[in-house]
Amino acid sequence: MNAPTTTANEDLFAYPQDRACPWQPSPGYQDLGRQGPLHRVRLWDGRWIWMVTGHSQARRLLADPRMSADRSRDDFPAVLPRLDAPIFKPIAIIGFDPPVHDVHRRLLAPDFSLKQVRAMRPRVEDLARRLVADMLQAGPPVDLVEAYALPIPSMVISELLGVPYDDHEFFEAKTVGLLQAKSAEDAERAGRELWDYLDGLITRKEREPGGAGVLSRLAGEVDEDGDLTREDLLRIALALLIGGHDTTSQMIALGVVTLLEHPGQLAALRADPDVLPAAVDELLRLVSITDVSGVRVATEDIEIDGEVIRAGEGVLVSSSMTNRDPGVFPRPYEFDVHRTRGGNAASGRQHLTFGFGIHQCLGQNLARMELEVAFSVLFEGIPGLRLGVPLEALPSRSGGTMQGVHTLPVEW
């Protein structure tokens, strides 16, 4: 059991806290990180959980089979009110422990492998170039979220899954509704609409087998007594559709902001296109777009660095802070596209933006490819790009995990 609401909890650090800068963790988390690797923090509902800011502790805990990701457990912490919505309780793959997790993940792995993603790259480049041409034709100012950052991942995931892109306004709006909801009720409403939509889509795919995309393939593998029931498939479709575009689009947006605010780094990237993959991983590290690497509940007492995480206690791993562990990343708050250079070829890539352990992001190769394409095509096509409003005036998202901006006005 988690600790009940007590007055003692009121003295604890209140989670979450908003960022003051789009690419840096909230000042409060920065203070916390200086005090050690493991902290007790108080949630919206008065419960408390562990917040992990140390890199090695995070790796150990996220790879520990005694930590459960099962959101249907009573003791699983709802770190934000929206995560209390029933639609989130059995969320496919990410919210399941083995063996079900492994079975479903393996059904999808072939579609997300490095080779598969590399084969998709030329089409994504064409798409990005078309969007740049449209922006140039429309002329400044442009909202980069609507014109570029959102359409790229949205079209890519539609094509991969076999969801008609014509419906994009609907599923984009409902995804934002689900991920930015301030209450469980609002999240549930948006989630149900997406669910009904996918239910109809999968019904059509069942009637007309042989269509393109992952969902068509999996619709042919549904077996009510086997590894993939129809409800499983719907849950997987929902998880992929939600996971597939909001994270990546906001990472494109905040990545562009970070590059524009660091002209020296942008110039270094322009001067040497070979730096691109390292620059993307450095941006992923710095921006930590989801702010969180994972949430778990301990199923047994776990001793770690002199502390004991008791069975039933919740754990939240901060990606923005573990990505700034000074023992792993020298000058952790600095943006340095050359970080992976030098002695340690992996030093920039060991960020925990995609999580760690068996739940490490399924879409990470896809996301990296989309980000590489998005940044390179944009800065090549519009070399004079600049923010259309001062940095402080950007309409930033607030409240918790998914960082980002509602709009990103740009000019050239």
């Binding site: 790879a63 792995a109 492998s113 070829a345 890539r349 060991q350 068996i358 490490q360 190769n365």
Partner: protein
């Protein structure tokens, strides 16, 4: 100097391809997206990068030892 050997457990692999991205000379992915070790006996100049791949592997599927692994 004794040679280093590497093996990878497909049962544990979650197909993220971190090993292949770090050291494509040694690691590959099969049709299912699962890890495949191309050269179990690691050339000395690749040892550092193979250790890095093992460190980056999120599911601890990569084992480094001083001899070939059975089975």
């Amino acid at each position: 100097m004794t040679a280093v050997w590497v093996s990878a457990d497909q049962e544990r692999c979650i197909s993220g391809g971190r090993c292949m991205a770090a050291t494509s000379e040694v690691f590959d992915q099969d049709e299912e997206g699962l890890v495949v070790v191309l050269t179990p006996q690691v050339a000395p100049e690749l040892e550092d990068r193979v250790r890095k791949a093992a460190y980056l592997c999120p599911s601890r599927a990569i084992r480094i030892g001083d001899g070939p692994t059975q089975g």
